[in-house]
């Protein structure tokens, strides 16, 4: 089978040169790195929206760029479903007009095609078909942009930070659609993200960019634990993704084993014993306690050791708080908790402190079985 994506490109950017050679075979790929690492530029280079790109790009065995052989397909002949961060919906068209903008290419494409009605249904925007895009909510606009990309018959979807800039409630709403899209349509997808939780959830294979270079690539689990990548993971992660297997289901509560001897109680919706599941746990939903807590309604209290205290840089939604990074089960799992700097000082929490991470069962959002 040919690779999903083969890039070997060089592109001069403002302060540095993007130079990436990456061959990826999985259908769910992610590009991970700090902002400014060149992720969006690489995406634009693949989409054909950048001039001055040298080297080779091939998707699903078709060569889109090969400057040695004089191949450089224009964007319109490449076949990407591109969803940039600012979506770029066409303001003069209604939802359906946007979604069907690429239908001509989809119709001319060999192989299986997606039925736009099904795409609208899966993304739950069928009822919005005749609405003006200016009247949509942020979450609806994202789904329209996803639908437009899907309905254009793409060889690969390029999703640039599909969850960035959303408040946490909205992220929780869009994420399930992304997972559902992956299951329902099986279009190879390259996600760009600076959030390690998202990468773990959405992708099987990841490439890590730092200052325009690929510093690691491979299966997500291996790469995100790579010593070269860990600093980026630690600096960026603000949401916890707990992945494990379901060991018991008792009515509406399930036990998820996320590490050796480390079980978390999560809502059981859609989970079966023995299945592998991911749950999302927001950093600010975790309470830290110095003593093993008793007499609490929260069912989860995981013992851990503080590895690191991080300032919160970009987040206005977590102002005045710091992130406490915990090692669980002797470093085989980790958690990030957001607490106010004031409580941290009051409790004397610092690197090396032994604490208990307390959170409710229903603070865990089950993202997907699988």
């Amino acid at each position: 089978m040919s690779a999903t994506l083969e890039v070997d490109v060089r592109l001069p950017l403002g302060g540095f040169e993007l130079a990436v050679a990456w061959t990826a075979r999985s259908g769910s790929l992610a590009l991970f790195g700090h902002s400014g690492a060149g992720k969006t530029s690489l995406l634009e280079a693949i989409a054909g929206l950048r001039g001055g790109v040298r080297g080779r790009i091939a998707v699903a065995g078709r060569t889109w760029l090969d400057d040695e052989r004089g191949v450089d397909l224009p964007a319109r002949r490449r076949g990407v479903g591109y969803v940039p961060q600012d979506l770029l919906l066409f303001p003069h068209r209604d939802v359906l007009g946007n979604v069907l903008a690429g239908r001509r290419r989809a119709a001319g494409r060999a192989g299986p095609r997606l039925d736009p009605r099904r795409v609208l249904d899966v993304l739950e925007i069928s009822g919005l078909a005749r609405r003006r895009v200016a009247d949509l909510s942020g979450g609806e606009r994202r789904r329209v942009a996803l639908a437009r990309a899907l309905c254009s018959g793409p060889e690969i979807l390029l999703l640039d930070e599909p969850l960035a800039g959303l408040d946490l409630a909205l992220r929780g709403k869009i994420l399930p659609y992304l997972l559902r899209m992956r299951e329902a349509f099986a279009v190879p997808t390259l996600y760009v993200s600076h959030e390690p939780g998202e990468v773990q959830m959405l992708a099987d294979e990841v490439g890590v960019l730092a200052s325009g270079r690929l510093i690691a690539a491979g299966p997500v689990g291996t790469v995100l634990a790579d010593p070269a990548v860990l600093p980026i993971v630690r600096a960026e992660g603000r949401e916890n993704v707990l992945r494990g297997s379901v060991t018991s289901v008792d009515r509406d509560v399930a036990a998820l084993e996320i590490g050796p001897g480390l079980a978390v109680s999560v809502p059981s919706r859609g989970l079966a014993i023995g299945s592998v599941a991911s749950v999302l746990l927001r950093a600010e939903d975790i309470v830290l306690s110095l003593e093993p807590p008793g007499g609490l309604s929260a069912r989860n209290a995981l013992p851990g050791i503080v590895r690191d205290i991080r300032e919160i840089e970009r987040a206005d939604d977590l102002e005045g708080q710091v992130l406490v990074v915990l090692d669980l089960a002797g470093g085989r799992a980790s958690l990030v908790a957001a607490i106010t700097e004031r409580s941290r000082l009051a409790l004397g929490i610092d690197a090396g402190s032994r604490v208990h991470a307390v959170f409710k069962t229903h603070a865990c959002r089950v993202l997907a079985a699988g």
Binding site: P74, R76, L88, F90, P91, A101, G102, R104, A106
Partner: protein
């Protein structure tokens, strides 16, 4: 209203209307090229299309006259056919179109520059070709600005005097527009007739601006 004034109104509308239709395609195309492309000689095109704005209108008229004269480069001797523009309403329309060109080019350019080129890039990733993108994305998004360009052009053509009088003369019922008529009547001491044409001009200007405002607000 006197017959002369009505004739002048008719000629004015005909000349300005035809001039606008004639100037729009090249003007919009120039605006698009200037907004979206870089090419050798771009500065030259920019300057050339702006010239009629800066030159005295009579100078532009004189250039047209020389071009279209019997032995000029666009005259009957050089082309083999007589375009029959001099001293006709078509000549007046040509003069008005040339005078309106800078305004149309400038407004069209601004209208296109206000369309986010990344939307055109998005159209390309969806498989749309250049023409489909122009037709389906660029033109609809620039529409308001292009309507404004057309109106400015029409307005400029309606008021054109200097170039028109040289190319088309001032023949009542044939080439006499309201602008020329007012001048002619004043020269001949027919103050009443001049005032009448003035009144018609004001009404016409008012109606044009009003219609455009309505049009712009009606559609978003």
């Amino acid at each position: 209203m006197t017959a002369g004034a009505i004739e002048a109104l008719r000629v004015s509308l005909l000349v300005a209307g035809v001039a606008t239709l004639a100037v729009l395609p090249p003007g919009v195309l120039c605006g698009l090229l200037l907004a979206r492309r870089s090419f050798p000689g771009k500065a030259l095109v920019e300057t050339a299309t702006a010239l009629p704005l800066v030159l005295p209108p009579t100078a532009v008229g004189y250039v047209l006259l020389r071009l279209l004269a019997r032995d000029g480069p666009l005259g009957p001797r050089a082309l083999g056919v007589d375009l029959d523009l001099l001293l006709t309403w078509k000549g007046a329309a040509l003069a008005a179109a040339v005078m309106a060109l800078p305004l149309v080019v400038r407004s069209a350019r601004t209208a296109f520059e206000e369309v986010d080129p990344r939307l055109e890039g998005m159209a390309a990733t969806l498989g749309l070709g250049r023409l489909a993108t122009l037709w389906g994305v660029t033109l609809p998004l620039a529409r308001r600005g292009l309507v404004a360009a057309a109106v400015l052009g029409f307005g400029r053509a309606l008021g054109e005097f200097g170039a028109t009088v040289i190319v088309a003369g001032n023949i009542p019922g044939r080439t006499q527009t309201l602008a020329l008529g007012i001048w002619g009547d004043l020269q001949a001491g027919r103050d009443r007739a001049a005032t009448e044409m003035l009144a018609i001009s004001v009404v016409l200007a008012f109606a044009t601006v009003f219609a455009v405002e309505r049009l712009q607000r009606g559609r978003t």
